[in-house]
Symmetry: C2
Subunit: 455 residues, 2 copies
């Protein structure tokens, strides 16, 4: 047993430090394909803040890299192991410590699963909006690390907007409290927000105070079929320009619709080029739904089908939620991009993506949080075909280049990890990147926290 493992054991129970190589391998990577993942020296599974502090203190003393990890549902390799690192899995710290309906806050440990929290607050008439596709598995800690989004964002924003305060264990094991549990507060620099989306590179979140909203009425959705993605994007622009605030506004192109049908047998309309889903969760959704339907028709929709009831609405959402898994089955392997453009440029983004697919002879299915301009062009390919793999990678990069050209960002909600590290430098430029390095140096001078990720 190495000295490192021995020292870890001094502050952790026996089942809190795993070293079996077969077990370690299962903790090596998240759900992003094509990202390098090393072999950890150990996996640490703390149950308390003190155990996390002990782990960090030990790693700091040994100058061993630490990779914080949640449910490993991430899509950018941010949670991938590094050779010889400690994987610090927070999944056992999964207590909901408080739900307070008057203050509208929840206090949670990082390993709480998103859906568990969502359901627990629902029971008290409250609403925690962030809803990544992986919400049944992903953890709040992971959501905070990657600042993840979901379907709700067009109305309710991303995870970042719900994080009021954090307890964070720093690289050397000291415990920092940031932020507040009050509705407002401007005392000092916004350290809370600095940790959100930093992918574990600045500290390890061990507790979060989250803002909640009052639970809205159940949503009611409609589906609109369009003869072209251009027409569907035009509808998106008209809907937003007219001042509507849908609870979601999602787009699936024909490739995605077919993939979902193949997997789920849902019978979505395959003859259309783009399917738009819009939903409202206001007390009287039928008014805005009707108006949105008319705007879709004005933009050229061939058919507008309002859901009859909440159950039908939920079915439509399930179709959208299953899109990425369905696309995965088209050719066995996918690379999922996450480019967000100003919504006025959405049509150009989809047209450009189609051109890239055609140029490379590839299938690229696009589903999009259209109301946010956040597209997930998903390159479907056969990984055993070397040439197709090469073309898939090339198209993946070209899609990001196109996003930047249109005034967008290389990542709307999935994060940078290792997958997009080179592209982050492209997006930020040397001045901003230098400031990132400076900040990293302040929080983690020895560079042990998730090194080699983000930048």
């Amino acid at each position: 047993m190495s000295e490192l493992i021995e020292r870890l054991g001094e502050g952790l129970p026996e089942d809190g430090v795993l070293t079996d190589p077969d077990v370690l391998r299962t903790y090596a990577h998240d759900m992003a394909g094509f990202c390098p993942a090393g072999a950890p020296a150990a996996v640490v599974l703390p149950r308390t803040v003190e155990e996390v502090q002990h782990t960090l203190r030990t790693a700091h003393a040994f100058r061993v890299p630490v990779v914080p990890q949640g449910a490993r549902t991430g899509l950018s390799g941010a949670a991938n192991a590094i050779d010889g690192c400690l994987v610090l899995s927070l999944v056992r710290m999964n207590r909901i410590l408080e739900i307070n309906p008057v203050d509208r806050v929840a206090v949670v440990e990082p390993g709480v699963v998103n859906a568990t929290l969502s359901r627990a607050v629902n029971e008290q008439g409250l609403f925690y909006p962030p809803d990544p596709s992986s919400w049944e598995e992903c953890t709040i800690g992971g959501n905070i690390g990657t600042a993840s989004g979901g379907l709700c964002c067009v109305k309710y924003g991303v995870t970042a907007e719900y994080v009021l305060g954090l307890d964070v264990v720093l690289a050397d094991g000291r415990l920092l409290s940031t932020g507040r549990r009050t509705a407002k507060g401007v005392a000092g620099y916004d350290l809370t927000r600095l940790f959100v989306g930093s992918e574990g590179s600045l500290g390890v979140v061990v507790r979060a105070t989250l803002a909640l909203k009052a639970e809205p009425p159940q949503q009611l959705a409609l589906a609109a079929e369009f003869p072209s993605t251009d027409a569907a994007c035009d509808a998106v622009c008209r809907i937003m320009e007219a001042g509507h605030t849908p609870a979601l506004l999602e787009l699936m192109d024909t490739t995605t619709v077919r993939a979902v049908n193949d997997m789920t047998k849902m019978g979505l309309p395959e003859s259309t080029q783009a399917l738009l889903l819009a939903a409202f969760d206001t007390p009287e959704p039928s008014g805005p739904l009707r108006a949105v339907g008319e705007l879709c028709e004005a933009a050229g929709a061939s058919q507008v089908v309002p859901a009859e009831n909440a159950a039908e609405s939920e079915l439509l959402l399930q179709a959208r939620r299953s899109a990425l898994v369905a696309l995965d089955q088209v050719k066995g392997t996918t690379m999922i991009d996450d480019v967000c453009v100003p919504r006025s440029r959405l049509a150009e983004m989809l047209r450009g993506t189609a051109a890239i697919a055609e140029k490379h002879g590839l299938t690229i299915g696009v589903c999009a949080h259209a109301g946010d301009g956040n597209t997930h062009p998903t390159v479907c390919f056969d990984a055993s075909d070397e040439d197709e793999s090469r073309r898939a990678h090339a198209s993946f990069d070209e899609i990001m280049a196109l996003g930047l050209e249109l005034g967008g960002t290389i990542t709307g909600e999935h994060g940078v990890g290792v997958l997009k590290k080179a592209w982050l430098a492209e997006e930020l430029g040397p001045l901003a990147l230098g400031l990132h390095r400076g900040i990293k140096q302040v929080f983690d001078p020895e560079g042990i926290l998730n090194p080699g990720k983000v930048f």
Copy 2:
């Protein structure tokens, strides 16, 4: 003419550098009383980004402190001059560069007045929520620097939530772009948010991309009279617990009500101990207003008076908006506190404030963004009375101590400036404060940007 002024003149027009001591004096301080203000060496009034860069490059070369300034309506002395500094007033950079209803963004220069922007976006059916009391004068740059709030926050949040991206001139004159104009984006650390609320200590904002919302229907308000602040705070808790989302939820204690009546002759009810204003801006406000009225009655309201129409609602808001000015006239001088507590602790905060007032034999009027738990206990005193002044200062500090004790923050929306510097250290503790210093060092290694403010 000093070498510094000469060098400034090389990159600025003649009217862009002021040195007349009488004029300089008028730029020496913001609206916070009791904060030291020095004598600037010059006031610089740039019209372009290049002129700001020239100013910073020059200041950097001469190691001269720079104090960025908007309309000087701040309440914490953050914009106060330092002896020998350059005051960098951004008020001439006041162009609205773009309003885009599809992307729901505005791009503005920092000197644009809040009300000017609000009205301009209203004309296009859009809504820029942040509405500090000084909205007719204060600038967007100042709002960003102090992360200011307003009446809207209980539903719409603070300025920070509307800043998508920034152009910032750094201490050495280099131009940094942060953030995005897309609805979402998680590329790298959130530098944008780091600048918001940093009170000009990390860089000078020269352009901002702001998120807009669709314009909501006009609000409808009600006023409820309570026999005690306890009962009013109980009503606030009941309203929030019941899941309502009012567009504002404001409280005025009897001292404030009397002061407003004295100034405006509005005839608000003086016999009650606390007046609560609630408003909704939903399509059908009468339903929730009725429910809120009933909750107020259940909490002990002696009377609930719904506004008959939008004009009556607006009058009620004007009463609330005039509170601080009215309290200023009670005894000639005020110290305005800005303590925010979890709303479940609001009653304790008001009770404790009353006890502090009684102990010191002082008049302390309280108005509060009650829905946020954000109170503005306003100490009214005669500055020519030395003993009363001493007691006023003591009570001001005790109010902050009470706020911290109740799990709150020393500043909900006014910022730290010089007024609350010592208290910030108290709230943050040495670890967080050390990280603040480290971040400051990364952005401004020579320490020329607004030194001596915040921390």
